[in-house]
């Protein structure tokens, strides 16, 4: 008995001690992190956990708003730029801020980003690319209101305007974080002498086909998109397309401190715009189609005659939402209009990228007879197998009003079923086709908006399930790690009952969604099977907790599958050939009416037509020069121009953009007057053989900096300072180089000469998962030491950090330099006077490496410790692990990783960000977060025919406007995952990054270091790698390892420098010895050879006197 009590007491005591210990530990851990926590984390968590609109909608009482309130945007209450809030004083029409004493300080209007101005003929308020604008609005009674603004988009990039909406200081629900306002684009068609001007602004030939610009072989070219800003109306609605119609915000007068006086605010995420008015209005119920039909009957509208049908070619829209809605060539059917077996004609719209929610294309037409019409589309939907894609139809003109609006609720969901072949679909919702009333003489606008239609419920359901499953996975991961022991009893049921319940709940949800989808599509396709598979696994894991550990791996891959499923399902792709607005004699006022289309609209070609077309195409293919595709300047025109041969080592898409850019903004303008550019797409690695064979180009685009120096030192690439070398050119070169970060010029320069202009630049940045860091209570690390304090917290949650191994980063952050005698002070030497001459002393740079200095050894030890002591993984798939959340912090190539995550990890959209890499604390307390950049360049090759013409091309090619147009063109053509890593700082600003992304990117862009590549440099990375691997694999002392290789590296550098007859520092020699040796060598040269070094007269005479 005593014994038991003793044991019990001891056990209790021990338990208390352990508990205290636990709190002690966690307390101190929290403290350690506490000092890096900022207030933004709570905000971030609140934002991440913001409810979706459906929850918000359910929560609010069902009281409708009473009356419409219109606010003039110019009556703005305040503007905040993130640091200071400026209030608007209507009397003096100026902004003022309050200083610490509470006094008003009038702000200087020139320094403020916000302003008033005239936009499109209307006085309005400018909403800049950053900052928050706030208005006050008096709402008479509590209730649900919609919000609508009249805006005028500014800025010429292809990205839409994005704003975050606050009601009474809070973002009411998740979707209000990224309200998307489209811009208005039109295409520029050539003016034709013959033909008639169509309503879409293009000239039409006698068949009603648009006359496009053609290349020399008669292939039609895609027209250029031009932004056409105008005042537009936007009802706040779901940017994801899950909810149709306007959002209903609940203005609550009872629980508001200021009663009926509410504040509404718009915070800028992307792009600028002007705002005219804001309207808060009670949302009216959409009429149903049946009611509309009844009204037709009541008004006595008659169907239009059969002959009244008109055809609108889809390839030439009146306006589009963004530049990725563009025309293309289709050759899959002989009857696609127009089509030609020989030439590529623009004949369809939206083969690739008319598939994202929010995109639209509008068309204009008139009818010849008043009456009821149906609208049909000849189209192809062969992307979303087993499902249908949707378009929302908006109309304007006549009875439909001036602004484009959806005429009735069903028109949100015009369906296009899956079919591998062409089809003619009459707009309808699957059960009935729609009839519209058009009057003779009116001009109507019809817009087809990409929407999710009825699929929105399903997709939203899956999206919600996915985020829950993802959380479950991360919960389990935190307990078990990525490699769970399947024989261990983790007791999931006790440790995380909610997670296990959620697994089962999501099983039910997904099964329900799968049934719903089967019912909608009528059959169980591959699409449904994916959902079933995931649901089954969830059932297994949720109902038997012993199965959780062994199936965790599958769960991870299924999360990815589900993400991909969502991604494809959201892509509502549709290719349109033409739209027919047709009257129909047999029309009834019945919803089940089916129209009969005129015989001239054929779904597809018959056998003979198809065979004729294919055979003719086949024979034509022998006569088409695919290299000439898109070339608009004929050989004759080129004959009297100077030819510049340019090689590009990129992809086909990239090359085609360059070709059209060269045609439209270089050869046809003053910049390229008298120059014919011969653009050739070559495979990488072709340059060396062609230079050897003296068949090289004049200009090569995209040569990496290492090769630039390799070629330059063997005089295969020309220094731009001397070629062409006129005074005017020199000024030009300086002017051009000003747009680049100086660091990016360093690896392209050698001995005071520059051998290329930077084209792209790549550098690492830190990517982090906002959700994971917020959940663990971690702040984004600013320094490496911060990062190390995160390690225990992450590791206890079984998470890792992905750090791409880059010794130079650590070395340069500590102020180190790879080379000795680089920029060194030569005062101690006997030849100090001689070394004053930069042209002379520069040859003594880069003679040896500085890896035996303390700063290098220290940096190397520090870097190695990450892998040895903190067990950071050396090899890992960054994107995959970042996506699953195992690796919430990854340091990787900025643009590459960004592109990959954008296209590949859509399910974590908005949950991650990238920022500058962690830095090293300097002794003065500042942080150095320098990243090491890799540069590729545009170079002029030795053997160039016309240096001046080639330089003019190079200058044009790297200029900010051209680089920006190219980058935006890539995004428009390929999508947001085709961001281009330009080296031009001004171009970076013009590209389609969000404000936050741009600021982070620009921050790192200005904080770069590069490593000059001098003879023998290749050997350095090799031995650095060996030194690291020896330390990692065998636990060798990193410092000794690195030191041990210094001699070997120096030997190779010396040998390589001797090859190029550069001064060397042999083992044990002093700098004086090296100088003497070099002077001896120079003395052996004749005068002409010496002249090429560009030494000063004093140096030259010294050399002469020496002999």
């Amino acid at each position: 008995m005593k014994r038991t009590r003793f044991i019990r007491t001891t056990a209790f005591f021990l338990a208390v001690v352990m508990l205290c210990g636990l709190f002690g530990v966690s307390g101190s851990a929290a403290e350690a992190i506490g000092n890096v926590v900022s207030s933004t984390k709570e905000e971030l968590l609140a934002l991440l956990n913001a409810s979706s609109y459906s929850e918000y909608d359910k929560k609010n009482p069902d009281t409708k708003g009473v009356e419409t309130v219109v606010i003039d945007a110019k009556d703005v209450y305040s503007y905040s730029d993130g640091t200071t809030t400026y209030y608007y004083d209507a009397e003096s029409s100026s902004f003022y801020s309050l200083n610490e004493a509470g006094e008003k300080v009038t702000a200087n209007a020139d320094e403020l980003a916000v302003a008033f101005g005239e936009y499109g003929g209307v006085n309005a308020l400018l909403s800049p690319t950053s900052g928050t604008l706030t208005w006050q609005v008096e709402i008479p009674a509590s209730g649900r209101y919609g919000v609508e603004i009249v805006y005028y988009p500014l800025g010429e990039s292809s990205t839409s305007v994005e704003r975050m909406f606050y009601l009474d200081g809070k973002v009411p629900f998740a979707q209000a974080r990224y309200l998307t306002l489209s811009k208005n684009w039109r295409y520029e068609y050539p003016t034709a002498e013959e033909g008639t001007l169509g309503l879409n602004g293009a000239y039409l030939d006698e068949n009603g086909h648009v006359i496009f610009r053609t290349d020399v072989n008669g292939n039609q070219l895609k027209p250029t998109a031009v932004i056409d800003p105008k005042w537009m109306t936007y009802q706040f609605s779901d940017p994801d397309g899950f909810y149709q119609g306007a959002f209903e915000f609940y203005f609550d007068n009872e629980n508001n401190k200021t009663g009926g006086l509410h504040t509404i605010a718009l915070s800028s995420t992307r792009e600028a715009m002007a705002i005219q008015t804001i309207r808060v209005f009670p949302v009216e119920e959409m009429p149903r189609y049946a009611d509309v039909l009844a009204s037709y009957k009541a008004n006595g509208y008659q169907p239009a005659g059969k002959d009244a049908s008109i055809r609108i070619e889809a390839e030439a829209p009146y306006r589009v939402s963004d530049t990725s809605v563009y025309s293309a060539n289709d050759r899959t059917s002989a009857v696609t209009s127009p089509n030609s077996p020989g030439a590529q004609l623009q004949n369809v719209l939206g083969s690739n990228s008319y598939d994202t929610i929010g995109q639209w294309a509008s068309y204009r037409f008139t009818v010849t007879e008043t009456g009821l019409y149906t609208i049909s589309v000849r189209c192809k939907q062969d992307k979303l197998a087993g499902m249908y894609t949707s378009r929302a139809l908006r109309l304007a003109g006549g009875i439909y009003g001036e602004e484009l609006s959806v005429p009735f609720a069903e028109a949100y969901d015009a369906r296009f079923n899956y079919d591998k072949a062409w089809q003619i679909v009459t707009l309808g919702d699957g059960t009935s086709v729609f009839q519209f009333y058009f009057e003779e003489g009116e001009t109507y606008t019809l817009s087809l908006d990409v929407s999710l239609g009825t699929l929105s419920d399903i997709i939203e359901g899956v999206e919600r399930s996915l985020s829950v499953i993802n959380d479950c996975y991360l919960d389990i991961l935190r307990l078990t790690g990525a490699e769970p022991d399947e024989y261990r009893d983790y007791r999931f049921g006790r440790v995380m009952p909610a997670t296990v319940r959620n697994l089962l709940k999501e099983h039910k949800n997904l099964s329900a969604v799968s049934e719903q989808l089967t019912a909608l599509c009528g059959s169980k396709g591959a699409h449904v099977a994916t959902l079933d598979k995931v649901a089954f696994l969830l059932d297994v894991m949720g109902s038997d907790e012993d199965k959780i550990a062994e199936n965790l791996d599958d769960l991870k891959s299924y999360i990815g599958t589900l993400g991909t499923w969502l991604n494809t399902s959201k892509q509502q792709s549709l290719m349109m050939d033409y739209i027919v607005v047709s009257g129909s004699e047999n029309a009834t006022y019945d919803v089940s009416f089916t129209p009969v289309l005129d015989g001239q609209y054929k779904v597809d070609a018959n056998f003979f037509e198809a065979a004729g077309f294919e055979i003719s195409s086949f024979f034509n293919s022998f006569f088409v020069d695919y290299n000439q595709m898109g070339v608009t300047v004929t050989e004759e025109d080129m004959a009297d121009r100077t030819r510049v041969e340019v090689w590009l080592a990129t992809g086909r898409d990239q090359a085609s953009i360059w070709r059209s850019l060269v045609d439209s903004t270089f050869t046809s303008t003053d910049e390229g007057a008298g120059i014919a550019v011969d653009l050739k797409l070559v495979a990488g690695g072709t340059l060396l053989p062609s230079v050897l064979a003296k068949q090289g180009p004049d200009v090569f685009v995209g040569l990496d900096s290492g090769s630039v120096i390799n070629y330059a030192i063997r005089s295969a690439v020309l220094p731009l300072d001397d070629h062409p070398g006129t005074e005017e050119h020199k000024a030009d070169l300086q002017e051009t180089l000003r747009d680049f970060n100086e660091a990016t010029l360093v690896p392209l320069s050698m001995y005071n000469k520059i051998y290329g202009v930077p084209e792209t630049v790549s550098f690492s940045m830190m990517f982090y998962r906002k959700d994971a860091l917020a959940n663990l209570g971690l702040d984004v690390p600013q320094t490496w030491d911060d990062l190390l304090t995160c390690v225990p917290v992450l590791q206890s949650a079984n998470m890792e950090i992905g750090l791409s191994r880059d010794f130079n980063m650590f070395h340069y952050q500590r102020g180190g330099d790879r080379w000795t005698y680089h920029g060194r002070d030569y005062n101690g030497t006997a030849y100090a006077d001689l070394m004053e001459d930069d042209a002379f002393s520069t040859y003594f740079d880069y003679m040896q490496i500085a890896y035996d200095e303390d700063v290098a050894l220290d940096a190397f030890r520090y870097m190695t410790r990450f892998y040895t002591d903190y067990s950071f993984p050396v090899a890992y798939d960054a994107a995959n692990r970042f996506r699953t959340g195992e690796m919430p912090i990854v340091i990787a190539d900025a643009v590459g990783m960004y592109n990959q995550l954008t296209v590949f990890a859509t399910e974590i959209r908005g949950l991650w960000m990238f920022t500058n890499i962690p830095g090293t604390l300097r002794s003065d307390g500042t942080i150095s977060s320098v990243a090491i950049a890799g540069v590729s360049a545009v170079v002029m090759m030795n053997g160039v025919d016309d240096e001046a013409a080639s330089w003019r091309f190079m200058k044009w090619q790297v200029s900010p406007d051209v680089q920006a147009t190219y980058g935006n063109g890539m995004v428009a053509l390929i999508g947001p995952s085709a961001k281009y890593a330009t080296a031009n700082m001004k171009a970076l600003f013009k590209m389609s990054w969000t404000t936050e992304e741009y600021e982070n990117l620009y921050g790192q862009f200005n904080n770069l270091a590069t490593i000059p590549n001098y003879p023998g440099a290749y050997i350095i990375d090799r031995y650095l790698n060996f030194a690291f691997l020896n330390s990692y694999n065998d636990g060798a002392e990193p410092v000794e390892q690195l030191q041990g290789y210094v001699k070997t590296i120096n030997k190779e550098i010396t040998r390589k420098r001797q090859e190029f007859e550069l001064p060397v520092l042999e083992d044990g020699a002093t700098i004086d010895d090296a100088i003497e040796q070099y002077l001896d060598y120079l003395a052996t040269l004749d005068e002409a050879a010496l002249a090429e070094f560009g030494f000063s007269d004093a140096t030259l005479s010294y050399i002469k006197n020496r002999t």
Partner: protein, 315 residues
């Protein structure tokens, strides 16, 4: 009269110089020369000339882009006296050659011999299975997935799951494993053309020879193999041996693909790599030609040795 005599007497070899005779013979056989010309032209331009040119280059300093500079024997001196890595590469090459050459040769033959005993249909399938790794080009990349350095790599993952290791091993970047793994991969891919030649050779053997030998007193399969099978298929053996040698000396691409270039601490650096390092990375074509010449001599030398060894087969 004497003229007539001269005409009637047949032209004899001793009447003319060697060159005249050759020229005459060539004219007589001109069809044959014309027939062989296309091949000989190509052979000289693409095989003989590069070899000769490479020997010339080995006495120069040549950076590809600028004109070569004669340096005499400097490259050779440097190669043998001042290049530790070359010595290391020689060692590695010999190890590779010693392991993969004979082993894969024997393995090819043994497997071919066993397979030959199978019924024809089964034989076709089994042959394909064994031959597959060497026809499908980059298939050895399977090994880099198996032995990935990632903790999710198959071998790392399995070993970690079983609790044998607790941190992933960088298989192809760890000196302790690279050489062994590369040898295994080399053996796996080496059952190539030689193996097919052996199978073909085994099938050409005249069955009656075995019967005759049985009468002459051959007692077991080993004697059969040594006295009949091997001597009969000597041409195929020769072919296989030459292939095995060139393959084992020229073994580089697989190592580069798996262990990178250069492998950690040059632990799997072969002469081929060394050649590539100087020719491709450092633009020192003169020096890399020197390496090539040395490699060429080693290969030719070992070919002669093999030829000698094979002539002993069946004796």
């Amino acid at each position: 009269m004497s003229q007539n005599e001269a005409v009637t007497r047949p032209v004899a070899r001793k009447d003319m110089t060697k060159w005249q005779w050759t020229w005459k013979e060539m004219k007589r056989n001109k069809t044959a020369y014309i027939m062989v010309m296309p091949f000989m032209l190509l052979f000289f331009v693409f095989t003989v000339f590069p070899v000769v040119f490479s020997i010339f280059l080995s006495f120069t300093e040549f950076n590809l882009l600028e004109w070569p500079k004669m340096v005499g024997f400097e490259n050779y001196i440097r190669l043998f006296l001042d290049d530790e890595i070359f010595i290391l590469a020689c060692k590695n090459t010999l190890i590779f050659a010693a392991i993969t050459g004979p082993v894969s040769y024997l393995l090819s033959f043994l497997i071919a011999w066993f397979i030959n005993e199978l019924p024809p249909k089964v034989r076709a399938v089994v042959t394909l299975i064994f031959y597959a790794p060497s026809i499908s080009g980059g298939v050895y990349m399977v090994w880099s997935i198996l032995f990935s350095s990632d903790s999710y790599g198959w071998v790392n993952g399995t070993l970690m799951k079983l609790g044998i290791i607790d941190a992933p091993i960088l298989w192809f970047q760890d000196e302790n494993y690279v050489m062994t793994l590369c040898c295994v991969v080399a053996l796996w891919t080496s059952l190539g053309t030689a193996f097919l030649a052996f199978i073909a050779g085994l099938q050409t053997i005249d069955k009656s020879l075995f019967e005759a030998a049985a009468v002459d007193g051959i007692r077991n399969r080993w004697q059969e193999l040594w006295y009949i099978t091997l001597p009969t298929m000597r041409p195929q053996l020769m072919f296989g041996a030459v292939l095995a040698i060139t393959q084992s000396f020229g073994f580089g691409g697989v190592v580069t693909a798996l262990a990178g270039m250069p492998s950690v601490n040059y632990c799997a650096h072969t002469i081929m790599h060394h050649l590539d390092d100087y020719g491709g990375m450092r633009f020192e074509v003169g020096y890399s030609s020197t390496i090539a010449v040395v490699l060429f001599i080693i290969m030719v030398g070992s070919n002669i040795i093999i030829k000698k060894a094979l002539s002993k087969v069946g004796q």
